[in-house]
């Protein structure tokens, strides 16, 4: 038939390449893990990585969070060049850290510094779960302790956004002791009468949940964030039954009295601003009031 000459019948089979097989092209589009809606990443960024169809909070990088939280151009970073050592000579730890440094353009799993929110100065720490799952080793512990010391020296409040799988296995007991170090530093902040706001984001578990993240004068969390001490799998293995879906979510913690408030990302900045305002001036607020 003459029609066959013009038809576009394929003469060979095409096999989709590995990249094409992916449901969503890396980078360009982002698929919501909760409602499966696919959005342009660019658009999603404009709305602070909060899904516009179900409200799911996608992870933010540390600098995205800082830009979103602090007043423009107010951020000054502390101890940017600290990187991990390998005290246990743990197999492939240094290589993996190096890969994460290249991948994330961060030197470690936390960024700390100082800046202002609604004009109120604060010291801030933001963890980044892309770097070794946000785990806490010597550097993370030290950067948090130094940030707290700076807050004490400069009489500023301290805000920490946690996003971490817990203590970093590859540094063994060094990591474990960072739980004590960060908590002890917070005790000094407490003695000085300074405010600490802990904001738990997805995920905040293990040794991070069981140290500084739970010690805020005010404990906040983002909606849907996984927060808990023991891993879900370990609990399921221990009790030999499946756990409900909402177990260890921010909402679960709120219900059980472990949080002050669940705050959506779009309200976080204004909420923090109000809280800082209520706590300023840090030292002589009451005197100022009494003296009219």
């Amino acid at each position: 038939m003459i029609r066959d000459l013009f038809s576009k019948k394929k003469k060979y089979a095409t096999i989709p390449s590995e990249e094409a097989k992916q449901e969503v092209p890396e980078g360009l589009m982002t698929k919501c893990p909760k409602c499966k809606t696919i959005m342009y990443t660019k658009e999603l960024r404009k709305i602070n990585m909060v899904c516009n169809s179900c409200g799911h909070h996608h992870s933010l990088t540390a600098y995205e969070r800082i830009n979103l939280t602090l007043d423009e151009n107010s951020f000054e970073e502390f101890e940017k060049d600290m990187i991990a050592m390998d005290p246990l000579e743990f197999p492939s730890y240094l290589e993996k850290s190096k890969i994460d440094r290249e991948k994330t353009k961060l030197n470690e799993a936390i960024v700390t510094g100082t800046g202002t929110i609604s004009g109120y100065p604060t010291v801030i720490g933001v963890m980044d779960a892309r770097f070794r799952m946000g785990s806490m080793g010597s550097v993370v512990g030290e950067k948090i302790a130094i940030a707290i010391e700076r807050a004490i020296e400069t009489n500023k409040p301290f805000i920490l956004f946690s996003a971490s799988g817990g203590a970093r296995m590859q540094e063994g007991v060094f990591s474990l002791m960072q739980m004590a170090k960060t908590s002890a530093a917070l005790n000094q902040l407490h003695e000085k009468g300074l405010l600490f706001i802990s904001v738990m984001t997805h995920p905040t578990t293990g040794g991070v949940s069981a140290s500084f993240a739970s010690l805020g004068d005010i404990n906040l969390a983002e909606p849907g964030a996984l927060i808990g001490f023991a891993g879900r799998r370990i609990i399921e293995q221990t009790i030999r039954q499946k756990l409900p879906d909402d177990f260890q979510t921010a909402e679960f913690l709120l219900e059980h009295g472990q949080l002050d408030k669940v705050v959506s990302r779009n309200e976080m900045r204004s909420t923090l601003g109000k809280m800082l305002q209520l706590h300023y001036p840090q030292v002589n607020g009451r005197e100022g009031y009494l003296n009219g």
Partner: protein, 326 residues
């Protein structure tokens, strides 16, 4: 429960059996084999020295987990006088996985707190295998605050696989309970001496571990994750726990070398369970020395030094240093 036989002890057990056989034979047949027996006993002495003097990390883990290993209450009974156990967190319940109370040590009133395991199934169920719930940590904190008020030094015995992982523990705030102990312990105005006597499992152990002095019994362990857990995460195979125990540096000699603990308490040859009285005596000596150093230090100094102690833990590099090194 029968005494556990550890695999690496097999040659010792075999030799011991042989010696007792010979002794029985001597008694029965009235033949003098004392020369033989003496030789074998010398060999046994040498063998014990060789085996127990060169324990690898996994062998120490096995001793730390031995079912006859002395517990907090075994030591309290032997080291202190006038012990009165105090119960409850005043909030929820009385967790049997942590015991605490007041007593005297060399005449000095002290507060004692420790994880408490069981030695058989029945006791282990009562004690939740030494894995505290939040109310256990809150009981410990209550007793610490009480000690602080009455200016009593605090002695903590650490012996747990870890804090209880369960639904109720999460609901009642396991994380907060542990975290609260860390921050509050760091501010205690009385001396705090901590001794790991068995397993020191992660945050659940550290929640009794923020002290001015941290000691470990020679065959105890202290770790951020159990060897089995580490092996499962690292190599997707928990049977590689032996290898993980070596990699993770969890034994007392390893941690002493890394500068993470203040001292190691020597153990009776073959493990603390071989002679609990002697082991208790060794611990008491360590305690006595520490308390002599610590009692009388100004509270402010004590708190400051404790903070510096923990602040100094950590190994850190700087990007700029690396460039210079290159």
């Amino acid at each position: 429960m029968a005494e556990q036989q550890l695999s690496f002890e097999k040659p010792i057990v075999e030799l011991k059996n042989k010696i007792s056989e010979l002794k029985a034979f001597t008694a029965e047949k009235e033949i003098d084999l004392s020369g033989e027996i003496e030789k074998l006993e010398e060999r046994l002495e040498q063998l014990e020295k060789d085996i127990y003097g060169n324990l690898n990390p996994w062998e120490r883990v096995q001793i730390a987990r031995h079912n006859k290993r002395p517990t907090t209450l075994d030591y309290i009974k032997r080291i202190f006088t006038d012990f009165i156990e105090l119960h409850g967190d005043r909030l929820y319940g009385d967790d049997q996985a942590i015991v605490g109370g007041i007593a005297r040590f060399e005449g000095l009133p002290v507060t004692i707190i420790g994880h408490q395991r069981g030695k058989d199934t029945k006791e282990n169920i009562k004690r939740n295998f030494g894995m505290p719930h939040p109310e256990g940590y809150r009981k410990a904190l209550r007793l610490m605050k009480q000690a602080d008020k009455f200016n009593r030094p605090i002695i903590c015995f650490i012996d747990t696989k870890g804090a209880d992982p369960g639904i109720e523990s999460e609901e009642r705030g396991q994380s907060e309970a542990i975290a609260r102990n860390l921050i509050e312990m760091s501010g205690l105005r009385v001396p705090v001496v901590c001794i790991v006597i068995g397993e020191g499992g992660s945050g659940g152990a550290l929640a009794l571990g923020v002290g001015d002095r941290i000691f470990m019994l020679e065959n105890s362990t202290y770790s951020v994750i159990s060897p089995e857990g580490a092996a499962a995460l690292l190599w997707k195979d928990s049977s590689l726990a032996k290898r993980a125990a070596e990699t993770m540096k969890i034994t007392a000699p390893d941690l002493l070398e890394l500068g993470l603990i203040d001292g190691m308490v020597q153990e009776v040859r073959g493990g603390a369970h071989r002679d609990v009285d002697q082991q208790a005596h060794e611990i008491a000596e360590t305690l006595s020395q520490s308390l002599q150093e610590l009692v009388g230090i100004e509270p402010e100094t004590l708190v400051k030094k404790r903070y510096e102690k923990f602040k100094n833990i950590g190994e850190i590099n700087h990007v700029s240093d690396i460039i210079v090194m290159k």
